[in-house]
Symmetry: C2
């Protein structure tokens, strides 16, 4: 049984290319004691993965050249040496890697945990999306750091993305008025269809700062920042007094790991607005995942949470899917369906 | 009786000059009902005052051209129409303005409050310094936002300044290791003499970022930022995980109100460090002033808090004192003694 894998071929400088990874055919791995062997069905593409293939220091160890590309996935158990797991069970974990078969260790704690998927809650790939890491990111970032209140103006960038689409809808539940920023009118029309109050296309709006000032004359109370860069700058210039800013992502800068990120500094704005800015890494909050799943799945069941995926079919399309996500060509959470 | 006043003559672009203000001789004002007339003895020079003479929007209304320059002071009551105030009482208020006689309204609340000075606690000018607005700034910024813990590394810029000197000593009480940054070896020697653990001269250190990394290899847990600008950038690059940053001042940029503040953006660093950055304006915390005075005066009485003032004598020297403070030529809290 062959196990196809994507290995890292180079540390890209700037935007990765299809040559950043190389396909490798290994033997399928064997599960050890208290381990399970899983056949990958879905793999997840997420912006944090750009950091993992950078040679720079980041908050966790990256992928060395020649190593298996890291990434979360969902799969079906095809062999089990663990008493709690049976063949046919569905597993989700951050530790799949880009491969067709993975050996997982259910006893690992924290971020390395293996979650048994309850198929009654949602389709399995939802555990990579709105019930998975992006869901927890939106849930914690918004409610623990952003803390929207009724009447607040909430701005979210990458508004139709895996995290942004949830932030907007959860913010709406808090009674906030939601302004979504994204790079295509089609994405923004969808955002409005799921409840966003206002939208701005940052690619066609020549004066983002001014456009925001018009939509939010009293200022922005909560800013959920998925992009960094010039969108960040424009929103920061519109903060209301006592604003909260969640620094969640920096995909606009994702290829700038090797250079300094120069732009507007926010000191003066932060003083004038007495604003609070906090960077978050969702993996610090993994212990809250059950709570997020319970809340999000209940909302979805009640029809109060819409979600959208962008699916490519085929294991060989992982690099293509990665580049789609990096360039914003994806519309909704980027996934690859590896096997039926 | 003549009341000399300094009026704003122009909104300076860049660094103010002696021509920014003009001397004006008015008649001494008359106190109305429930007001007091005070003879100014001390006036305070503080960086926030640069914002007040900028035409740009800021957190409060500034000084219009031809208006009395704003500023806090201390004085002696020479006439009273208020039952709680007698001739000879000492008053402190943010609402003196640069003038020899001021009419104050003791019933005003909040930041406009008039404080009756208890001369047993400290010399009257202390109520403009470590028992006044800078004291409250250090006390609240450090304990409410910075929240140092034993073993933390705490970095403070403008270390010998009115706020910095207090932040370092209060941080020491929390068990933190204190690194002070300032622009002269003499200032830094004094900081060490009052308990700072390490100091860096930003004017002579060619690699501030690297110097900090050497002094704090585990990163900076608390950064109390009084300057903004390149010092800010260097410290931000050294933040430890879960760091807290107090954005208190921006004197390095104080003359850049009319231009964008370009430099390193911190998004990536904030994510990697999961750091929290908060801008503060001390006037939001005025209701905590009695608490700060009680704590700081007790520490001072016990010999655990050293303070330093930089005094110029003479009402006519207010513009000179302002420029001293703006350029960092002052050593300790900048004051002008207007009358004995």
């Amino acid at each position: 049984m062959t196990n196809r894998q994507w290995l890292l071929a180079e540390h890209p400088t700037g935007m990765p290319t299809p040559e950043t990874w190389r396909l490798h055919a290994a033997a399928a791995p064997e599960p050890g004691q208290r381990q399970i062997l899983v056949k990958t069905t879905w793999l997840s593409l997420d912006p944090y993965m750009r950091g993992r293939i950078s040679p720079s220091a980041n908050y966790t160890r990256g992928v060395a050249i020649g190593e298996l590309m890291q990434g979360g996935g969902v799969g079906e158990v095809i062999a089990s040496n663990h008493p709690d797991w049976r063949v046919g069970d569905l597993a989700e974990a951050m530790t799949f890697g880009w491969q067709e078969y993975a050996v997982l260790t259910p006893d690992l704690p924290g971020v390395a945990q293996v979650m048994k998927i309850d198929p009654a809650l949602a389709p399995p790939q939802a555990f990579l999306s709105w019930l998975g890491m992006p869901g927890l990111t939106a849930y914690i970032g918004l409610f623990e750091i952003g803390r929207p209140k009724p009447g607040d103006v909430l701005v979210v960038s990458a508004a139709s993305g895996a995290v942004g689409q949830l932030v907007g809808q959860l913010g709406k539940l808090s009674g906030a008025r939601i302004i979504g920023i994204a790079g295509s009118d089609e994405k923004l029309a969808w955002c409005r269809s799921i409840g966003f109050d206002e939208t701005i296309n940052y690619k066609t709006e020549p004066d983002l700062r001014g456009a925001l000032a018009k939509l939010a004359p009293g200022g922005v109370n909560v800013f959920f920042d998925n992009t960094g860069g010039p969108i960040h700058d424009a929103v920061m210039r519109n903060l209301a007094v006592a604003a909260r800013v969640v620094i969640c992502g920096r995909i606009a800068l994702a290829n700038a790991f090797e250079q300094d990120d120069i732009g507007l500094r926010a000191s003066s704005q932060l003083i004038v607005s007495r604003a609070m800015v906090q960077g978050m890494v969702v993996f610090d909050w993994w212990h809250r995942r059950d709570e997020a799943i319970a809340r999000l799945s209940a909302l979805h069941r009640d029809g109060r949470l819409q979600t959208r995926e962008d699916v490519l079919d085929g294991f060989e399309r992982l690099p293509e899917a990665f580049l789609r996500m990096m360039t914003g060509a994806n519309f909704g959470k980027q996934l690859v369906r590896v096997a039926a």
